[in-house]
């Protein structure tokens, strides 16, 4: 079995199995955890609290105006590379074909050259994100292996993808195998590291907002 076949076949299958198991395990386990009982009388009903929770999920995801000078750079970086990642993952034709082969759904794609430019920009932003993490002492002290490894597996997928597109460094099939293997690694790491924030971030903000609204302290 060639490396590319291994990457597209058994390795991908194992990675998807681990990913699905891990994500569902953590999501269901977290959702079913016991919440602290609220002993006070609810200030808002379920529906209003729910809607306010949704609003909090949105408002807390936007930079806070008073701190914009201090946090703006980091937030702009974060949003930019996330948007870049989404565009590359969801609108590159081979990626859509990959998704179609698994789930049977597909959609319009962007020209490969545009996606390549976006990927290069995203890679540059990821380097800036790492530099910022290393350069700011507070951020550096808050960082652990999880932060760096999550950055590594994400960046590795982008780098190997760019190498495959540019046919740089090895034969195309080898580069493509590296790219898919790096994606397999990302899938395996995803549920157990901070990449899981992709599933947690908005529901957790929404739930916080919901409870605050129930207590009569919507923000």
């Amino acid at each position: 079995m060639e490396l590319l076949e291994f990457a597209r076949g058994p390795a991908l299958k194992v990675a998807l199995v681990v990913f699905c198991f891990g994500v569902l395990w953590r999501l269901v386990g977290t959702v079913l955890l016991r919440f602290h009982p609220h002993l006070s009388v609810p200030r808002n009903g379920f529906f209003k609290s729910f809607m306010l929770g949704l609003a909090v999920a949105g408002s807390r995801s936007w930079p806070y105006r008073r701190f914009i000078v201090r946090t703006g750079y980091g937030e702009a970086l974060g949003y930019s590379y996330h948007i870049g990642l989404f565009l590359v993952i969801l609108f590159f034709a081979p990626h859509v074909l990959f998704i179609k082969s698994l789930f049977g759904v597909s959609w319009a794609t962007l020209p490969s050259s545009i996606v390549t430019i976006i990927a290069v920009v995203t890679f540059t932003l990821l380097l800036a994100v790492l530099f910022r993490r290393l350069a700011y002492s507070v951020l550096r002290k808050l960082s652990n292996f999880d932060d760096y490894f999550s950055w590594f597996v994400t960046t590795l997928v982008i780098v190997t993808g760019l190498m495959a597109t540019a046919h740089f460094g090895a034969r195309y099939e080898t580069l493509m195998a590296w790219h898919i293997l790096s994606f397999d690694l990302l899938l395996i790491w995803f549920p157990f590291g901070k990449l899981m924030h992709a599933f947690y971030i908005f529901p957790s903000r929404m739930i916080n907002g919901y409870f605050l609204a129930r207590k009569g302290a919507p923000s």
């Binding site: 198991f21 395990w25 269901v28 386990g29 955890l33 493509m176």
Partner: protein
């Protein structure tokens, strides 16, 4: 095939056939160009060809469909490639030769004996090893025996076609005859693989010329001449701009197909296939499969019949036959989540009870 009087050098043959110096030099220049050699190498080829002895060639056919030989005989005729047949002495080819049976076997023995250590072997077809090699026999000898015996005195072996180079279709799953490529059996001779199903005629003949004039050409990891197998079909495909623009044919009869857009989504294996189809083309440079509207099958690559899933599955598609295990894993994950949460709640309840008991005890004290 074994002529009564063999002309000594290629120059002798060319002179005897009335080939002009201009025609000969044009041939040398085009050969150098085919092989992506420096322009100055055409003069080297010319000098070497003129003084080279016509090497004796033994063409052996094993598990094959004769498509490779068909391809070779459709070399641009009458053109420079056809001259190659005047430059080598094709002394044994059981498909082309007039002799048959015992006479042809004697011819093979004679050629080997007379040219021991100097002849070139061209092999077409995979070699079956299953059940002692009974699936392919000639004159009571198995293919593996003929190959082993003939290879002993060969200067080099050129494997023509994917079957002899990598096993090809005979090696495809479930490989009932135990077919293997030549390189699995012969390990002590220079082997040049000219793969393809079939290979491009000009690639076969140019490789032979290179061997006659300059020796074994630069080879890739699969022992294929780099000059022809150094780039992927995708790299040189005229439809590549459509790939870059994200314009793909979705079916064989949609607007994209009619407009000649990229066939990647229809399973084209061009990105992982190394061959000269997109540049040298077929039928006197007329076209190649992609130009005719069909995706590349990747026929010049090892294990081509079984690799990459279906011929019509895109390269980017996962090679996962069933998503059931993934669904089962999701179900198991959800169950594990329920279990973990239940365990957490039980522990939490036990802690609350313990705290209440401790509080009660401290109050009583």
């Amino acid at each position: 095939m074994t002529t009564a009087k063999r002309l000594e050098t290629i120059e002798d043959v060319l002179t005897a056939n009335g080939v002009s110096r201009r025609t000969f030099l044009k041939f040398c220049i085009s050969t150098a160009s085919f092989m992506a050699l420096a322009p100055s190498m055409s003069t080297v080829i010319a000098k070497e060809l003129l003084k080279a002895r016509r090497p004796s060639v033994i063409y052996l056919s094993f598990q094959e469909c004769t498509g490779c030989l068909e391809s070779l005989t459709r070399s641009y005729t009458p053109s420079v490639e056809n001259m190659i047949f005047n430059m080598v002495s094709l002394d044994y080819d059981d498909t082309l030769m007039a002799a048959a049976g015992k006479q042809s076997e004697e011819a093979l023995d004679t050629v080997i004996k007379e040219n021991y250590g100097h002849y070139m072997m061209v092999v077409d077809g995979a070699v079956p090893l299953g059940n002692g090699g009974v699936y392919n026999t000639q004159g009571g000898k198995s293919a593996v025996q003929i190959l082993t015996d003939s290879a002993k005195g060969a200067a080099a072996i050129v494997c023509v076609g994917t079957c002899s180079s990598f096993g090809g279709i005979p090696l495809a799953h479930p490989n009932p005859t135990g077919a293997v490529p030549v390189s699995d059996i012969i390990t002590d001779k220079p082997i040049i693989n000219v793969s393809g199903c079939p290979p491009i005629p000009a690639v076969i003949t140019s490789t032979l010329v290179h061997y006659v004039t300059l020796g074994v050409p630069a080879l890739d990891a699969h022992h294929r001449p780099l000059a022809f197998f150094g780039n992927t079909i995708h790299d040189r495909c005229y439809r590549r701009p459509f790939f870059d623009e994200g314009k793909f044919a979705k079916t064989f009869d949609d607007e994209g197909a009619r407009n000649g857009w990229c066939l990647y989504e229809l399973g084209c294996k061009g990105p992982t296939t190394y061959n000269a189809c997109a540049t040298t083309k077929w039928n006197e440079g007329t076209s190649f499969p992609i130009e005719s509207g069909h995706p590349c099958l990747g026929c010049s690559e090892p294990n081509f019949w079984d690799r990459n899933g279906s011929f019509y599955a895109p390269l980017a598609a996962g090679l996962i036959s069933s998503v059931a295990p993934i669904g089962e894993a999701a179900g198991a994950g959800a169950a594990a989540g329920v279990g973990t949460a239940a365990l957490s709640r039980l522990r939490n309840r036990a802690k609350v009870r313990q705290r209440a008991t401790e509080k009660q005890t401290s109050k009583e004290e």
